[in-house]
């Protein structure tokens, strides 16, 4: 019981810190924190497929991109309130994930990774070449920021306001995603990742569970993308490219895939390191590569995972 109390205490502190963050740091870090929250949600959604279900996807950015484009295009053409664009982003990326997932979950391991890569790059190529709709490689820019909706009077163009919008949405989404992982459904996913055959023997349709996991992950990635476009004022093919999918992989490995908050922690380490190291050197990717190699070789459980393993074992 004391562990549980401690956990709630820590969680409360974290939320309080996030809420008070703008009062303690310089203005620039509001942008950094916003990015961490959004990328954390993206990585956490990826981890539902990777950490919980044991499938390494290299096409997860397709759903992030779908969410970004949906939001950007709705804001550009229709100027609907943000809350509706976010719902639309979740819906379109869910649909895309259903289509792509329908095919991908048939395959395992390397073949799954390759097929998700192929589909992700297919979406990238469409965004890149369908100029009349997506504006090609320039992406969709210059869209206005509307109101939030739901009768709330929020100035979304104000980075501070947008930070709080992102904070609330991401915390709610993370809570939902967490409930998914703790549900019986989530436990079956975990079982699939550990031993797919045994799950099949139990009479469960393993493929269907994997598909649902894939769709749920796509939906939350779409939400992250939907939040990202208004933050960065662009929806561009870069967000769909496989290297963006790889960022979710990196963040998850950095933080650790075994714990729910690992990807969020990884996103924080990733974005902060990027912010700091790029101030001193252009070669941040070198540091990233070395860190990733060390993590894979020696700390496969990630930073947060390794620390928690120590703490909890004691």
């Amino acid at each position: 019981m004391t562990t549980r109390l401690m956990i709630f205490g820590v969680l409360g502190l974290v939320l309080a810190a996030l809420f008070l963050l703008p009062y303690g740091v310089s203005y620039f870090y509001i942008f950094v924190a916003t990015e961490i929250l959004i990328m954390g949600l993206f990585a956490a959604s990826f981890n539902l497929v990777f950490g919980y279900t044991g499938m390494l996807s290299f096409g997860h950015a397709a759903f992030f991109g779908m969410g970004s484009y949906t939001t950007a295009m709705l804001l550009l053409h229709l100027q609907v309130p943000l809350v509706w664009t976010l719902l639309a982003a979740m819906f379109t990326s869910m649909l895309l994930a259903a289509v792509i997932g329908f095919f991908c979950v048939r395959l395992n391991e390397v073949y799954f990774a390759m097929l998700t890569l192929a589909f992700g790059m297919m979406v990238f190529a469409v965004a890149h070449q369908w100029r009349s709709v997506t504006n090609g490689s320039d992406g969709i820019t210059g869209f206005p920021l509307t109101e939030f909706g739901l009768g709330l009077d929020l100035q979304l163009a104000n980075p501070l306001v947008y930070y709080y919008v992102v904070l609330v949405v991401v915390v709610l989404a993370a809570a939902l995603l967490y409930l998914v992982t703790r549900s019986p459904f989530g436990l079956i996913l975990k079982a699939i990742s550990e031993n797919p055959e045994r799950v099949s023997f139990c009479g469960l349709n393993e493929r269907r569970f994997r598909l649902i996991a894939f769709i749920v992950a796509g939906l939350f990635a779409g939400l992250a993308g939907g939040l990202f476009a208004p933050f960065n004022r662009v929806a561009s093919p870069d967000m769909i490219h496989w290297s963006h999918s790889a960022e979710a992989v990196l963040m998850t490995i950095l933080g650790g895939s075994a714990y729910f908050l690992g990807p969020f922690f990884g996103a924080m380490v990733f974005v902060l390191l990027e912010t700091w190291i790029t101030s001193y050197t252009d070669h941040w990717m070198l540091f990233l590569g070395i860190i990733l190699a060390l993590m894979v070789m020696f700390f496969r459980r990630g930073i947060l995972g390794t620390v928690l393993d120590r703490v909890l074992r004691r």
Binding site: T3, R4, I7, F8, V10, L11, L13, V14, A17, L18, L21, G24, V25, S26, Y27, F28, Y29, F31, V32, A33, E35, I36, H128, Q129, R131, G136, S137, D138, G139, T141, G142, A157, Y178, N232, R233, V234, S236, D238, M239, Y259, F260, L261, F264, F265, M268, L272, T275, W276, T278, D282, L304, V307, L308, L312
Partner: protein, 412 residues
């Protein structure tokens, strides 16, 4: 339930430490002894990064010259450089970092039209003046124009109007294009076609065009496609590493021996010409925003010789743009008598100052500098400069190639 942990306190402590340092910097930056800080965003990675290197050299030269001769309002000037990665979102993040973390007074840079159309709508939120020194899409001083955004370099409409005049003189009637598949390539073709048809209604703009992806490696299919179409003239708006790659492959396929005229809107970039040396074909028309040997005036002569002494090569148009950007801020800050971003922004409007390529003025109506490109035919390789020289060569008068403010779609 082991899944929750202290995620944020480390962030908070780390942030607080860093931000204290930054905050102290911000609090004291109003004092007169602190340097004037200019934030610059150029392409420093990927195949076009040589453009960023030239820009960096141009800025360094300008900053050193200004500081040696007493600075701006008695204060030193310095620049902080960020990489645009030739992506709009990276450039927007870089701009936010420069303004909120590096506390710069003014911004400059941008190498790509695609990046510029993403960044320019965000500039008013940053509340800093922004001088574009390279990106050429007419939109940023047209339908996207805003109070803070200025451009001192030649834009697409200025350059293609000049290109159309050259094209008309060649007598070629059927034209096609090879350009990068983004805003710049498509707009170059559109504007060129319109201007050329105004000059000569009989000109045919072919349906069959080639827009390879930016950063494409094998241009062979696109080159064959155009050679197959048998046009009279080809407008090429590729630039950077793409143009180097294209020219080498086109040489191999005999593209330049064909019976058509070739106009390269950015072929006169010394970044490209020095990489190619004698691989640059002779006798084709190339355009450039600035040509170091085209302006016989005191400012240019001093600039070119200082640049040659320091870097051992002639300044490219991007080096000149970046150099001039710093000089423009010097003029604006001295006119404003302050480094307040709003005051600098106001001072830039209608500002006239001496640049290497002559006297420049930022029009109050759309903030575009009235300036024209230089076009010429590639001639013999110069031993001194390591690039082919231009002969004949023509520098277009900015007044003649710049469209009227009413045509730009900008209302300020």
């Amino acid at each position: 339930m082991p899944n929750h942990t202290r995620t944020i306190p480390p962030l908070r402590t780390l942030c607080t430490a860093v931000c204290l340092a930054l905050g102290l910097g911000a609090a004291t930056s109003a004092q007169a002894e602190d340097p004037v800080r200019i934030g610059a965003i150029y392409i420093m990675s990927g195949s076009p990064s040589v453009y960023g290197q030239f820009a960096q050299q141009g800025m360094q030269l300008a900053v050193d010259e200004i500081n040696e001769s007493g600075g701006i309002l008695g204060r030193d000037v310095e620049f902080v450089l960020e990489d645009s990665q030739i992506k709009a979102d990276a450039a927007i993040q870089a701009a936010r970092k420069l303004v909120y973390s590096e506390q710069v007074h003014a911004l400059m840079g941008l190498d790509s039209s695609g990046v510029a159309t993403g960044v320019v709508p965000v500039v008013p939120e940053l509340q800093r003046p922004f001088i574009i020194t390279h990106a050429a899409t007419p939109d940023v001083t047209g339908k996207l124009c805003n109070r803070y955004t200025y451009r001192l370099s030649v834009n697409i409409s200025q350059n293609t109007k000049a290109a159309a005049e050259i094209a008309e003189q060649t007598g070629a009637k059927r034209w096609t294009t090879i350009g990068p598949d983004y805003a710049f390539g498509h707009q170059s073709w559109e504007f060129f076609g319109n201007y050329l048809q105004e000059l000569d209604p009989e000109v045919e703009l072919m349906e069959r065009t080639a827009f390879p992806r930016f950063g494409n490696e094998d241009f062979t299919p696109f080159i064959n496609n155009v050679m197959d179409a048998e046009p009279d003239g080809v407008l090429i708006s590729l630039w950077g590493g793409d143009l180097v790659n294209f020219i080498r492959q086109a040489n191999n396929l005999g593209f330049f021996d064909q019976d058509f005229e070739v106009l390269m809107t950015l072929g006169g970039a010394t970044e490209v010409m020095s990489a190619l040396g004698t691989d640059m074909p002779e006798g084709i028309w190339v355009g450039t925003r600035y040509w170091f040997a085209a302006h016989d005036n005191e400012v240019n002569n001093a600039f070119v010789s200082a640049y040659m002494d320091r870097y051992g090569k002639p300044p490219s148009y991007n080096a000149q743009g970046a150099y001039t950007g710093i000089q423009a801020y010097k003029a604006a800050i001295e006119k404003a008598g302050s480094t307040d971003p709003e005051a600098i922004t106001d001072a830039l409007s209608g500002l006239t100052f001496q640049a290497p390529n002559g006297e420049l003025t930022f029009r109050a109506g759309d903030h575009q500098a009235v300036v024209g490109p230089t076009w010429g035919q590639t001639a013999a390789l110069s031993e001194d400069y390591g690039v082919r020289m231009l002969d004949p060569m023509k520098t277009f008068d900015g007044d003649l190639v710049t469209p009227d403010v009413s045509e730009t779609g900008c209302s300020l």
